[in-house]
Every structure is written in C-alpha cells, then in structure tokens.
C-alpha cells in the first residue's frame, strides 16, 4: 500500500468516531432542554393529552439508546423526521435548503480564493504600496463584522444606487440570471473576511518560501521572476494556504447562518435560526446535523488535499 493511500485511509477511519460523537451530541440537544421539551414546544396552553401525544410521536418515552438507534437509522435512510409545526417531512425540506447554503458558501469561497491568493502573493513580492494596501485590506476584512458589512452593502447597492435587490431569492433552476443577481450581495458579504484570511496566510507562507535557497538558485539560473513566483514559490507555499481555506470553509458555514438571515435566503442556516425561535427542535436537529456533517467532511477533504500537496504531511503519519 502506498503511503499516501494509507494516509487517506487512516484519515477516513478517524472521521467515523468524530461523526458518531457529533451525531450523539446533536441527538441529545432536545433531551437536554431543561424541564419538559414538549411542554416548551407546545406552550402553556397544551393539555396533558397533547403533550403525551407529541411525546409518543417523538418517541421520547423509549429508552435513550433505542431512540438514538431509530433516529440515526432514519437519518441514514434520508428520513429526518417531521417538521413539528408544518408536519412536512424534513428530508424534503432539507433537499430544498441545502443547495442554497452550498451555492452561497461555494461561490463565496471561490471569490475569496480568486481574490485572496493573488493579493497575498503581491503582498509578499510586491513593493511598499502593494504591501500597505493589502495590509489595510486584511485589517478591514478581519475587523468588520460580516453582517454589518452586508448591511452597508445593501445601503449602498440597493438603497442609494438601486442596482441590486436588498434581499430575497430565486432558485437557480427557475431563473439562473435572477438567482445570481440575488446572490451577489450575500456572496460579497461572506467573501471579504475569508479573502482577508487567505491574503494573510498566502503572504506569510510566500514570504517564508521566497527566502529559501532554491529561490536564490533559480534567480542565479536566470529563471524569469514571474515563473519563480507563480510556478515555483507558490507551489511550495500551497500547503498552509490550502489548510486555511479548509478552516475558513467551516467559518463560512457559521457565517452563512447570519448572512442567510440577513438576506432572507432560504438556506439551512436560516432554517436553524427560525427553528430555535419557534422551539421547533426536530428542525434544529436536522439542520445542525447537516451543517456539522459538511464541516467534518470539509476538514477531512482539507487534510487529504494538504497531504497530497505536501507529501511530508502524509509521510509523517507513518513514523
């Protein structure tokens, strides 16, 4: 077995207990609500009969491990239970919501990488002005809260200029152009902070690589500076950049909750927030489970990608 394949398999094996612990944690959320969760869900006017009925419906009276087994078996078959208020099956609801969140986070990450990596490289190899400007951008991106930035963007692009809709959503299948139109501001809102982190890491990693002897050798050999920077140095600086992109993906999933609420996008994040406000625990659980699973899978993918970019990472696992 090649060391790389072994590394990937090891990392995969490590993911399974993490998924298990996460699912137990999310399963327990509703059981940890102080007092009777069903009473909290139904409100004060609920009759004992109502409460008993809902308890039975949610299987809250079964032994805990039976409850977990039934729940997780359902989830693995795509059955997430029922929306407590609308009685709609949660599987279908999630199938509508997940693509929205995925589109938002993927587009934001693409934009952040497309802007962040070249800016970070310029900050490392460029002149004083390139350095100052990018440093300013990093400080701005990290300090400004994303949702406030989003509101300011709405104020300018929707309020003053009337170029873009302030909130709302059209599905991509219905009208691709309209979908992108509505996505511009949310994506921009999320991308700025991500880009700032990517710039900072790219700059640091590139500075480290540009000081190494092989760069001096390439210069002495007469390799063009452009090729030194983008073909040789950037390739060697890629592992930390890939790591930070992976970490920021997780942050994006959290940020999506706020941005979806801000722009009224029907994604998983907004589902969770409305679920909490309505004490709709099955919805909250299903939403959290989906986002947490994405988070864990992304960190798995990141580790594997970094292992491939920088073989030292995957080799280290052997010794």
């Amino acid at each position: 077995m090649s060391p790389r394949l072994r590394f990937v398999l090891r990392r995969l094996a490590l993911t399974i207990p993490v998924l298990f612990v996460m699912s137990v944690f999310i399963f327990l959320i509703i059981r940890l609500v102080p007092g009777d969760p069903v009473r909290t869900m139904l409100g004060f006017r609920a009759t004992p009969a109502n409460v008993a009925q809902v308890r039975a419906q949610l299987h809250l009276d079964d032994p805990l491990w039976t409850q977990y087994r039934d729940w997780i078996t359902g989830v693995l078959h795509g059955q997430f239970g029922q929306d407590f208020i609308s009685k709609a099956p949660l599987g279908e609801l999630l199938a509508q919501r997940i693509p929205v969140t995925l589109e938002l986070t993927l587009l934001s990450m693409l934009l952040a990488v497309a802007v962040g990596v070249p800016l970070g490289v310029r900050a490392a190899v460029g002149g004083r002005w390139a350095r100052r400007l990018t440093e300013g951008f990093v400080v701005f991106g990290i300090s400004v809260p994303d949702f406030w930035l989003g509101i300011m963007l709405v104020l300018f692009f929707s309020g003053t200029m009337m170029w873009l809709p302030p909130s709302g959503f059209i599905s991509f299948a219905e009208d691709p152009g309209g979908n992108l139109h509505y996505m511009i501001l949310p994506v921009l809102t999320l991308a700025v902070a991500e880009a700032a982190y990517i710039v900072r890491t790219t700059r640091g990693s590139m500075l480290g690589v540009m000081g190494r002897p092989f760069i001096v050798y390439l210069r002495a050999k007469g390799t063009r500076e452009r090729s030194i920077v983008y073909r040789h140095a950037l390739r060697n600086a890629a592992a930390p950049i890939a790591t930070v992109i992976g970490i920021q993906f997780g942050v994006l999933l959290g940020g999506a909750i706020v941005v979806e609420t801000l722009f009224a996008l029907p994604g998983v994040g907004r589902l969770i927030v409305t679920g909490i406000n309505q004490r709709n625990y099955p919805v909250v659980q299903a939403g959290l489970l989906v986002v947490a699973t994405f988070f864990i899978l992304i960190s798995l993918i990141t580790d594997v990608v970094v292992g491939f970019i920088d073989p030292r990472v995957s080799d280290r696992g052997q010794s």
Binding site: I151, V154, G254
Partner: protein, 286 residues
C-alpha cells in the same frame, strides 16, 4: 523592598515601551473603551432607554451626535451602554475559558500520556462543530440570553485556549530549568507553579487577546439573530438588527454600532498581534 518595587515598575514601563507601536495603539484604544464602559452612566448624554416620540429617527445634531433610533432613543448613549454589555460578556467569557484552560492545558502538556488523553480528547470533541454552530446548539438547549451567550463563547474558546496552553506547557516542560527543578527534588506541583506556569503563560495571553476581539463579533452576531442579549438592553448586535429595519430612512442607527464593533475588534487584534511577537517566540498560537 522599595528597591525591588521600583525596579519592577521600571521594568514594566520599559516592557510597555518595547512593545510594537500597533500593540500600544491597541492597548490605548482598549483602555479608553473600558473607561467609557465603566463610566457609561456619567458619559452617556441621555438615558439609553428613554423613549422620545418627538425625536423618532432624528438625524445627528449637536445634542444627539449619532442621531436617534425608531423609538427616539439616543444612539450615542445606547452605543456607550452597549459597549458595556458587549465588553462585560466578552471579558467574562474569555476569563472563564482561560481560567479553565490554564490548569487543563498545563497538566496535559506537562504530564502527557494518559493525563493528556483524558484531558484533550473530550475537549477535541467540542471542535467537531463550527464555532457559531456550537454556540447556537447551546442556545437551542438553554434558550437565548446574555449569560447564555457568554457561556457559549466560553465553550467555543475553551478547547482552543487549552490546546495553546498544552502546546506551550509541553515546550516549557522540556527545557533545562524544569529538569533542574525536578533534579532538586521539587514536587510536580512546585515545578508547575514556579517554572512551568510562569513561563508557559505568554501564548495563552496572546490567544486570549486575539479571541476576545472575535468574541465581540460572535456576541454581536448572536444578538443580531435574536439569540443573545434581549431587548430593551442596549447591545451592539441588537442595535444592528433594529437599525436594519430603518436603514434607508435613518442609516445612522446602523452605521455607528457597526463601527463600534469594528473598533473593538481592531483594538484587540492590534494588541494580540503585537503581544504575539513578544510573548510567543515559539509560535504556539495559530
């Protein structure tokens, strides 16, 4: 006695002077903010919750430099009081997380082996959810409120701070003077107290300063979603959520609390980055 005190004072003064300019600016801004928060009742020109129907969405003027909101409340006074709420939540959360992380991380790093496993594995489990989601899960269980928001932030930061303290205590534990302490027959407790903790504390402080900045953002985000501080208490996130409804008529209701958050985060970041160079030579803090 007097001499040691005097030299101590001189040392700390020169230590402040030796910090990079950015860290000193960050520290200065923070001192000003803390003073503003503490003296809020004296500094706020108006009662933050006084409703004035004659000044609904009033534009900024001399008496109300930040304007007034949808209920005619003075935005400057509310921002000053919101500083208080936010800083209290943030300092409380980071202090609680640091005080728990300090012993846990120190023991895990110093003893290693099964002690490390028993301490670190459960803490790692807290990292399986994205930060904001972990906070939201806790709020889903307990219900919204400022105290819950503070606890949620502490819960997010505990594993991060413990990990930093563990790494830094591990590095220090391998150094010669710790070995020397053991060779002199000191107990583990004495070695930890006299050698390990004082020398391993720097990175934890740096990480805590950086995290405190983000805690302001998390607190604001939670309150913005209606999951943190509840009305009518003035909180920066809550003010942003109220200002959003009147954005086009009265942008000042929205602009100033947002700028306030940015200033706090910036100050903590400047301080943390400046301290990093001095207190974290091994680069333990991520």
């Amino acid at each position: 006695m007097t001499m040691t005190m005097a030299s101590g004072a001189r040392r700390s003064r020169s230590a402040v002077a030796a910090l990079p300019r950015s860290a000193r600016i960050g520290a200065l801004i923070l001192v000003v903010l803390v003073v503003v928060a503490v003296l809020a009742p004296l500094l706020a020109p108006h009662d933050p919750n006084a409703i004035d129907s004659s000044r609904v969405l009033g534009a900024p003027d001399l008496g109300h430099p930040f304007g007034s909101d949808a209920l005619g409340r003075d935005v400057l006074s509310r921002t000053i009081y919101a500083f208080r709420t936010s800083l209290a939540i943030v300092f409380g959360a980071v202090a609680v997380a640091s005080l728990i992380a300090l012993p846990l991380g120190t023991l895990a790093g110093y003893f290693g082996g099964w002690v490390d496993q028993v301490i670190s594995r459960p803490l790692d489990m807290l990292l399986v959810l994205p930060a904001l989601l972990l906070a939201i899960s806790l709020i889903a269980i307990v219900g919204p409120g400022s105290l819950v928001a503070a606890l949620a932030i502490a819960l997010i930061y505990l594993p991060i701070l413990a990990r930093v303290q563990r790494a830094s205590s591990l590095v220090v534990s391998q150094s010669g003077f710790v070995e020397g302490g053991r060779a002199r027959g000191w107990s583990s407790a004495a070695v930890l107290r006299r050698h390990v903790i004082p020398n391993a504390l720097g990175p934890l402080l740096v990480q805590a300063a950086i995290l405190a900045g983000f805690a302001v953002q998390i607190e604001a985000a939670l309150s913005f979603l209606g999951l943190g501080t509840q009305p009518p208490t003035a909180s920066l996130g809550l003010m942003l959520s109220e200002g959003r409804d009147v954005l086009t008529q009265a942008p000042w209701v929205e602009i100033f609390p947002g700028l306030a958050i940015a200033v706090i985060v910036l100050a903590f970041n400047l301080l943390g980055d400046g301290l990093r160079r001095h207190l974290d030579p091994q680069g333990v803090v991520s």
